[in-house]
Symmetry: D2
Subunit: 293 residues, 4 copies
Amino acid sequence: MKVGLIGIGGMGQHMARRISDAGHDLAVYNRTNSKAQALTAANVKVVDSISDLGRHASIVLSMLADDVALAAVSKGGGGLLASLPPGGIHVAMGTHGVAAIRELDQLHRAAGQVLIAAPVIGRPDMAAGGQLVILGGGLPEAIERCRPLFSVLGRHLFEVGTEPVAASVIKLANNYVLGCAIETIGEAFSLVRKHGVEASLLNQVLTEILFAAPAYKTYGQIILDRTFEPAGHKVVIGLKDINLMLAAGEAVGVPLPSGNVWRDRLIGAIAHGDGQRDWAMMAIEQARASGLE
Amino acid sequence: MKVGLIGIGGMGQHMARRISDAGHDLAVYNRTNSKAQALTAANVKVVDSISDLGRHASIVLSMLADDVALAAVSKGGGGLLASLPPGGIHVAMGTHGVAAIRELDQLHRAAGQVLIAAPVIGRPDMAAGGQLVILGGGLPEAIERCRPLFSVLGRHLFEVGTEPVAASVIKLANNYVLGCAIETIGEAFSLVRKHGVEASLLNQVLTEILFAAPAYKTYGQIILDRTFEPAGHKVVIGLKDINLMLAAGEAVGVPLPSGNVWRDRLIGAIAHGDGQRDWAMMAIEQARASGLE
Amino acid sequence: MKVGLIGIGGMGQHMARRISDAGHDLAVYNRTNSKAQALTAANVKVVDSISDLGRHASIVLSMLADDVALAAVSKGGGGLLASLPPGGIHVAMGTHGVAAIRELDQLHRAAGQVLIAAPVIGRPDMAAGGQLVILGGGLPEAIERCRPLFSVLGRHLFEVGTEPVAASVIKLANNYVLGCAIETIGEAFSLVRKHGVEASLLNQVLTEILFAAPAYKTYGQIILDRTFEPAGHKVVIGLKDINLMLAAGEAVGVPLPSGNVWRDRLIGAIAHGDGQRDWAMMAIEQARASGLE
Amino acid sequence: MKVGLIGIGGMGQHMARRISDAGHDLAVYNRTNSKAQALTAANVKVVDSISDLGRHASIVLSMLADDVALAAVSKGGGGLLASLPPGGIHVAMGTHGVAAIRELDQLHRAAGQVLIAAPVIGRPDMAAGGQLVILGGGLPEAIERCRPLFSVLGRHLFEVGTEPVAASVIKLANNYVLGCAIETIGEAFSLVRKHGVEASLLNQVLTEILFAAPAYKTYGQIILDRTFEPAGHKVVIGLKDINLMLAAGEAVGVPLPSGNVWRDRLIGAIAHGDGQRDWAMMAIEQARASGLE
């Protein structure tokens, strides 16, 4: 298959390799061209414009950090809306807000194109191993066309409905629950530490019984080992995420009080100079508030 | 073994049956004597006073709802402190506060007795099946003496140290994380529902990937099915728990902001007449705040 | 003086009348032209475009509901940036975000114009009586030119510095404290009511002693009397405000946890259909959460 | 009049002087007798037991730090309940919880005595100047008998009803609003400071307009000047207060989310070693969370 990809960041670079390694004819575009050049050794074409992508393929994936970047590559003269051929598919795989996805869906429809929202669950190492879980929302026939790509990128595809925005909502809700879990681990660790109990002992109890799941295992260990760098998911990205979640709640009249708590922790982390470290730093903010650091 | 048990509530009745069925010579005491009578058919002696228990056995378990009940059965003329023989062991299996356990530990030591704190993780159905997880804190030799009982009651014993209070802290921290998880599920469910997405779909994504663990599976399903009665863990008990956790945090200078959120939800549930239903009702309080109910 | 005014809403209409009544030659523009027509009886010129305003006067005030409206009247072909003459002054009197004011300041400078941020403290009845308090930030000589207008509109001008954004920050902080106060009154009223004490008695104690100030007197009475309509400041506007405040905090690394509380109350009010009522409705949301309504 | 007084702390010592200076025959009891000795120079009798107070006078005031101290001086063999003559009046002037006051009211009735709850609004300097405001709850004839004392101690008496608990509720609610205000000031000060605006400028805007009241003037200045010592109201006392407020809310099903915020700030202040400083330290905790200190 001929495929395009926009965005060669922490996730995108692994996705590009996997697609190319699987034999697909991949062209990539990155705003900072130099980042993409490393992929040429992996038989990936690096192009200079999004228009070039539209000429190369009728399926273009994007894996972008935020809604601003998504709008920047989609709208305007040299954007995807102007570049994709009729019937072309834009598969937006970043974590985006519901308003952005809803608007982009309408714009692609108006342009005779199709938007699939396909945000993923997984950190960069899972992207490298093709172990992502993909939440796919959009027209079934378009999802069907992309299935070969999804099967290279992830271990499972959840088809969440014909509306792209549904995938966005579920992805935001999933990350919301994750952020709450990390904050909670941090609070509980502070509590036992100040009572003279090893946090690792609590971590063992949690992850062997009620919380024997990747979210707790992964982040409990990161916090215990303080492996906040390199960041799998940065504080500043986590803050972007929670703002999208709170906006999604506001849009439909849903207060999200637990999210307020860790939004404040992330802001505190930034205030303390830790914005580029892993968002599990919220546990350190909690420790600071407890007089532990 | 000769054993005593105080407290025949939702958990205690199952524990009594299992101990008796395993061939131990069990005597039980319950403040409301009538509740205990049903156990006589199971070869359990029902006694009228805690003093009788102290004459029957040198190991007495308690499974009580709160610190007030624990103090009531321990202190005073006819209490365990006065009734247990020297070297006798009090195994406190309820969820108790750190101050209460620390004080009781000192009192038992002064009386030449031993306190083991052995709170459990699990709901009544797990107690019935001997599937509890037990967090045991106290003198190793005393824990050793109780091991035959623990193996009848639970599937795993975590030995968390020689201080009873460590078991209390870990149990409170475990329930703290659980309460936060339930609140979070409720918030996320409200969010997707108001965006027109089935909560069951989110539940599937959560429990098949990052949150594939009993805490999320159990409570996600309770909330989806609205099986708030009979309550496995009542709102009013959950409120008692969070107050103990906040007090444990206050005692050592640890703010616990996520817990404030669900404490408020539980108080709201009581205000709406739902105090005797399962604490998963906090999800309904969230839904009410979102204009959903 | 020749003056222009954009925005004839709840505040703007009173401001227009006062400026015209003071003998100034006022032209107004409103997106919904019909609203402005009522002012023609008051010797106010109603114009069809912002360009007309720029031809009429070199000082143009704006009193707009949000940053989107401010951008809409400022930018683009027929906007203020294109219409104001060199040296012209744009006095932005609405409550705007720090990012919006900072950007607009730069744009006006680049266009050889001057931005003054002059947000006001006061509800519509105070605008009608010229009793507003004005927070003026910007070049002193520009503020001096506008002083005759400020003296007609308000009873006091705080000059808060040469940067427009300083006025924005102080205005947001002032409203932040106000929102927190309203939420707090609501919580305290619920508390005493459920203890069988009249909220009016608490209101008397508060407003005669420690809280003998307009914020508490005004909002205590609104809540006691339930005069949520007509709204002096709507729930939806309050929500816009708190979002600006939280964004202002995020921009500089300041968590604002008390604001999270009433943001959630406002969202709940919208969920319950009360978005167009006065933001003092947050007290009713509190009462609902307490099982009182 | 013959009068007794229990509790010679920061408030009580000033009250003792004023009562004695007004010509009343005052006997005082303090747990730490040495503190009371300084008053002998002011014609105050210092007695060794509460029984002595009961022999000296039929009206005994108490000004105690918490409910534990109140119970300690009231109950038991040598307590007020056993010492006051029939018809005697106990005027509890500390800030106490609703449960404690309700129970004590019943005990005094059962003993043929009268409890008046008369908590005060004001810091130690106001006690010294007789400028307290007194919230009196209890039987009108008993309040009448105490009026000469109240007029010496305070500048105003609010009669809040015939139930002592009503005075307790209003006092807690008043302090609740005060704690929220202090927290809010701290948050707003952090916000403007990090935007490069002087907190004193915001303080001026606040206290000259919407918040021109003692609460904001007093605490705004304390925070600006950092006069956290000597403490007018300590962090640890503030924490006791908020716990009483949250308990009062829990008792009747009222969540108090804004109070959770500053409870956490006070706990953080204690964690950072500031428990004995003024509770306005919550503003410093906010600043710390904002990376300012």
